[in-house]
Amino acid sequence: MFNSKKTFFYALLLASFAFTSCDSDDPEAENDGEVITDVILNFQELNAAGTPTGAITSFKASDPQGIEVGATPTIQNVTLTKGKTYQLKIEVRNSIENEDITAEILTEADEHQFYFLGTAFVGSGVLTYTYADPTGDLLGVVGKVVVAQNPGFNNANMRIVLRHALDKNFSGATNPNFENFIQAGGETDLDITFPLILN
């Protein structure tokens, strides 16, 4: 019933099955490069000439595991003094991989922009923000914050949003307090609300 040709054919078929049969590779741990675990706001007082003077005061928001169910970020209160003008430098880090993400944001200045919202910035005049990035980009990694001499109220909140892949030429997008930032397209990379205490 079986001729030798036939037997050979089936032997080959089975051999090819065994030959190409393969196992999955051993898994490797991934460096979660996109994760942001720490956002640090570095405030330094500016003198009348606009030169930073004195000590840097830092306030931090951190979420050591990145996005994880059950874990909530820890956000420090921001304490500033009435009537003073500060330089604000924002630092973004991935502490899991010990990476400075600020550098990446600076490299892609044309695709990123910080917006400064919340009751501290919008409508109240408690804080006034101006972009002051050395490169001239409207980015918000470096900016100037003026604290009102006589703010209408205390305990305002500072909402800081980092948008990625937005249309920076969108009408209104140059305003650091642009509430309709979503209309400029793109997506949110950071959205943190810091409580503000004024002395």
Binding site: F17, V39, A165
Partner: protein, 737 residues
Amino acid sequence: MIHLENNEPIEAAYIWVTEAAQGAVSDQTGNFNIKNLCPGTYAISIQYLGHREIKDTINLKDNSFNKTYRLEEESFNLAGVEIHGHRDAVQTTTAVTALYGEALMEARGENLGESLKRIAGVTTFSTGNTISKPVIHGMHSNRIMILNNGIRLEGQQWGAEHAPEIDPFLADEITVIKGAETVRYGPEAMGGVILVNPTPLFTKKQSLTELNLIGGSNSQLGNIAISHSGGSGKIKGLGYRVQGSAKRAGNVKSPDYYQNNTGMSELNFSGSIGYSSPKLGIETYYSFFNTSIGILRDAHTGNLSDLENIIQNGRPFTDGTFTYSIDNPKQVVSHHLAKLKSHYHLNENWKLNAQYGFQLNIREEYDRRRGDLNNKPSLDLQLYTNTLDLFLDHTHKNEFSGTWGVNVIQQANTNIPGTGVTPLIPNYDMVNLGFYVLEKYSKGPVELEGGLRFDIRSIQTARYINNELQQADLNYQNFSAFFGGLFQLSPTLSLSSNLGSAWRPPNVNELFSQGLHHGAAAIEIGDPNLNSEKSFKWVNELGYNFKKLSLEITGYANQIQNYIYINPTGEKVVSLRGTFNVYEYLQATAFFYGFDFAGSYQFTDNLSGYAKGSIIRAKNTDENNYFPFIPSDRMDWGIAYNFGKNANSQTNKLTLSNILVAKQRREPDFDIAAAPPAYALFNLAYQRGIDLKGNKLNLGLQVHNLFNTSYKEYMNRFRYFTDDIGQNFLLKINYQF
């Protein structure tokens, strides 16, 4: 009555005297007699095959009248006679519907999911306008099965945005089996099976080349497909086919704006060579599918607030522009499939079959990311699958026939390291072993069929989460069975009924998903303790065909235990990025039922009408609520006017159709956006077949969404972000030579 050319007498010419309503046939000598006519004037006509008809008027005055007519030979070409017949790709007692011939030609240029929407009961689950998955009776992804030329397609079908990796151009016929077919095809074939089959290879000296050219105005689509089949004259039984297609489309246009980054490109190839003799048949086949698909930029949201904002806006914030270029987010997918199949007739009753398939699926998904990461995929999967089928067919002189077989599936899934993202699903190895037997009894108008199958499956998984190795070792096993019958109740009426059990082990993503889903601003969490889904599907089909009316009604009920679905926990995750919803995989008893209908009626020789539609109800009977993404009630009806004469086999037809889709009122308790309203679309299609000296040219001109209606489809996941596709003019040229 004599020939004009040679004066030979003509026998069997026919003469007709109109006024007297009398006729006669000439005898061997060419003479005929008509008697008992009154004097007067008569119109006569004389006809003989292959000769010009003579019409004459004679004046009959006396008792006899003689005249000699010479018939002139006339060459007359009869139009080729096409025999329209169809044999289903699978002989089963379940409801089967196929897309082939003219209907398939009209669907050319569309992806598999879109093409199959032409079959009642089949809808799509889509992600935008370029990714669509077929849905049979409310089931999709891993609950249905797709066979590419007999090999079960093994891609990453678990993903809602993972379209089947197959080029519809390789098919000459696409068949949908609407029943549970786990016994025949293995686990997962719960809701139905789709068979994508090319024509059988030529076995004698013959050749056929087919060229398809398609252009579409919306997204400026260009599509070319060529296939060539040949048979050897030297070696009897040797045949081959090569086939390829290329497709390019840019941003899709909704009625009011372009959808940014929705272009796609596709490049596919397949080849096949086979030998067939009375005893032995061997066929090798290889197909390659390769696509890049842009994902709507606005669908990639940063957090829940982004998502809620765009849902409220109902459309992208920007108008978009036209471009062919594809940016991140995007998918780059390729799929290799090789097959070796052979059968050998042991004797006149027994046939031994062996089929081996190798598949490699490579899926890369790119997100919008910072820096160098933007050039790296965030999901990079390689899936190897080996399938081996050994089965024995028997046909006997008595009424029994059947198949006994063994089926082995071996699979290895690897995450290619370096994505910078913890993999959504782990690496895994899977082996599935199945044994089955199918027997059929057929006598006269009755056909009964039953089958049994036993499967065992083992899966080992491994993945690092937060630098911790997590491993799992899972085993599943299951019996499945079916029984069905086909009854020809009368020459016009047939009934089929099939009751089948089916099963599906939980998918790796359902077991182990852990991570952020950007399109849904959701964190999805798998459950490693899920059990296998087990279903019972009962499908009945009634077919009626009489003169001008043809009707097909399919009714079904499908109960599924341990139906796996994704459900919001109500919990929200707060992070520096913002807030996200948390979803988990749960199991419940599901009950699906519904019916499909398809019918046509020939009003006059030129005018015909058709209607088809489907109604599905799906309920979570444990919680007494509804599942998400179940197609709403829909209907497609239209009228066609055929300009050609009735006997003319060349198509020359204009069809106006209207698609009516109801709002899905049976919504789950939670959805991030309410179901969109009902909509109605009009389509116009003109199809013309032209015979060019034996070569066939088919021209199709179609307008989809004739009135450029803005609408959203419940089954399209991007209804959250955008309107569906707008008006589209399509030109489809098919040439066969």
